[in-house]
Symmetry: C2
Subunit: 425 residues, 2 copies
């Protein structure tokens, strides 16, 4: 292993361990969260995937996925393991600096950095890497990645309502299915696909349960914890994740019945909107909670949006299932790479109601212009709903943490004050 790679893995391990240890030590943390903390530790600190045999011989095909448009059901049905590759590490983003323009977003820089280093090793394991054509940076990243990996570009329409685009999207998924069959040598049959849809359906059911438990007045799980558990799905087998999540949900339900929570009742209910926090960049979720905010939900594609929407297959014919997958992975997605993207405002309005949101922290990842473009519209919506918005622009560099702390603290305090006065009235 090269010196550079060793140094990188040590640094990545250190910063990841710091986040995980902090979460382990948190008061009133659900015991069952341990599974997810351990999984993230395996991937980011110990650099191994516990669900994969160490010997290449017995290993299933591994399919790396970017964004959330490639149906994991197809990967499972082909007997392969899907892993999500969008990068969240500061160290990796530094390694990717020389391969991307200064103004590219850190997700893309980190992904490029980890790919070129082959570290953590899940980046080196992939037999195929799927990159949807979501945003400019992901498309240009795909071009760069294809020098190092077997890249499969998935053409995602940008106008969801277009009839022609939807048909073409369905064709893309049929093409993806064929490519998976070629890669693994396994035919994706009707029965196998139905089983995979059912498997992911069980995972989504548990994710949905978590989502609903967190709508309670005093959730027994922190937002940073829930996000970590959901994020872990990216590196786990769906079966194992599902079991662990069932136990976690049971525990949370029990704790809520017992009135146990890490939050105090007066804590402002905060939503983290905008760009996704990708592990180990846990800066904002932890900061909100450290400053006394009750992070109740997010709209992250690797958080609360990851496993939210169900697949609506009715008849279980191959065509019906493929159409249902195409619909599930396109229509409910509220990534700002789509235009128009009114769906997102609809979802946000719903989340504000369901979670009784009192403040929105709007995360702009440096270089992600599309989330920043939609800020105006989100601000207008939140003004209508009487919910204050704080825009935070940052990247993976930990150096701005003190400055962010001050701003988040002031924001949380402002809402707390508003609440106090409201109660007094």
């Amino acid at each position: 292993m090269s010196k550079r790679k060793q140094r990188f893995l040590r640094a990545l391990g250190r910063s990841s361990e710091a986040v995980l240890r902090g979460m382990e030590a948190a008061a009133e943390r659900p015991a069952r969260l341990g599974y997810f903390i351990d999984l993230m530790r395996s991937v980011y600190v110990e650099d191994c995937l516990p669900q994969l045999p160490e010997e290449p011989a017995g290993r299933p095909g591994v399919v790396g996925l970017y964004c959330v448009m490639a149906p994991e059901e197809l990967v499972y049905a082909a007997g392969a393991l899907p892993l999500r590759l969008c990068g969240g590490s500061y160290e990796a983003s530094c390694a990717g600096d020389e391969l991307a323009p200064r103004d590219a977003c850190p997700v893309v820089k980190a992904s490029l950095g980890s790919t070129v280093l082959g570290a953590p090793s899940l980046y080196a394991l992939c037999d195929m890497v799927v990159v949807p054509t979501t945003c400019d940076a992901k498309r240009k990243m795909a071009e760069e990645l294809s020098r190092h990996q077997n890249v499969r570009v998935l053409e995602v329409p940008h106008v969801k309502e277009s009839e022609g685009a939807r048909r073409q999207w369905l064709e893309q998924l049929y093409g993806f299915k064929s490519d998976l069959e070629r890669l693994t040598g396994n035919r994706i049959g009707r029965r196998g696909l139905a089983q995979a849809i059912a498997l992911l359906g069980r995972a989504r059911h548990q994710a949905r349960r978590l989502y609903e438990l967190r709508q309670g007045d005093l959730p027994a799980v922190r937002g940073s914890e829930a996000a970590l558990a959901l994020h872990a799905f990216a590196y786990d087998r769906a079966e194992s994740w599902c079991e662990a999540m069932t136990l976690l949900n049971d525990e949370i339900a029990q704790r809520q019945a017992d009135g146990r929570s890490a939050f105090d009742r007066r804590a402002p209910r905060i939503m983290l909107a905008g760009a996704p926090p990708v592990f180990p960049n846990w800066k904002l979720p932890l900061l909100i909670e450290e400053m006394g905010g009750m992070l109740v939900t997010d709209e992250s594609c690797i958080g609360d949006r990851y496993l939210y929407d169900p697949v609506g297959a009715v008849e279980n014919t191959m065509e019906d299932m493929m159409v249902a997958l195409a619909s599930r992975y396109l229509m409910p997605c509220t990534c700002p790479s789509f235009a128009p993207n009114e769906d997102r405002l609809f979802r946000l309005r719903q989340a504000v109601a369901d979670f009784r949101i009192e403040g929105v922290l709007y995360h702009v990842l440096k270089g992600c212009v599309i989330y920043d473009f939609e800020l105006l519209r989100v601000e207008a919506l939140m003004a209508e709903l009487g919910v204050p918005v704080l825009r935070i622009e940052t990247d993976y560099n930990p150096e701005d943490i003190e400055q962010l702390r001050t701003r988040v603290e002031a924001f949380v305090e402002m809402i707390r004050e508003k609440k106090r006065k409201g109660v007094g009235r």
Copy 2:
């Protein structure tokens, strides 16, 4: 007219007039360039379109176009006038600042600014505005524009080689054709479309003639002048432009035969690559020439790429013509919003050979991450060809001109020195 709009038009007029007057005063400028200078003056200083009747009654439909993917042939065949709206004014980009994120590119900011102000008035004249889904910023801009204008989004595939995408692109053009027919009340017939293709063909023939004349050892037209003449096509009727361009080309040919040129033979032959300079942002073309560089070509979508590629219709059936248009407006386009975009490297290699390029000035417009992404690959190509590259990142703000002047001067001097030594050997 609002105070703000008046102030804006005065400022726009002042900065545009400064550019045009400088070009008028330039030594050895072809006399026939006057037509194009006057046209740009009408649009940007006097705020009128000389080719349009002042009274709305006799006015044809006006179709505003962004980027270069919507076939102007269809607009002409519908009896309407196409105008290009991509904005190049600093004043307009300031007006658009509040509607776009800080890191959005100035093209989008200027376009938004001019739309909201309705100034210059060509932005207020459009009966329909066509926005292709090229890059993130254009897509989000389309969403914003649709609050003010009748916006028609044109879905452009991002993977040119994809069979399904090409079919969908053809369908998009059929849809665009229907929309134009509905807008104007004119049916686009086989004959009308063939005539429009022939009309644009004549314009392209003249653009191509200019392109080839400039490959001479000592071109009788400056790069800044050629770019202005091509740019003027955006606001002219194709017939008038074609006549004026024929005369300009005749004059240039004559001057070259007479050995007259504004350049001296030892001036380094420079290509302006990367993002397009959009009028009145003539900073870089003028700077290259001021510093003694011979700007011989660019790869701008509103410059040398604008009218370069022919439409390959053979049979003149409606289907054949539509397929030819779909192909012409997609396949040769080397906008970095496409991925993969190997075609661009092929074109650049060709241009270096055809124009005997000795240096490439690579223009990165602040916020245009995709051109910056491709810099690495262009640098590698140019290193192979032995051509030095200077990356210049700037926006429409004139304040960095002194700093840019120093850098461009050093670059031109470096090539001149290299040339001198090469000759001495």
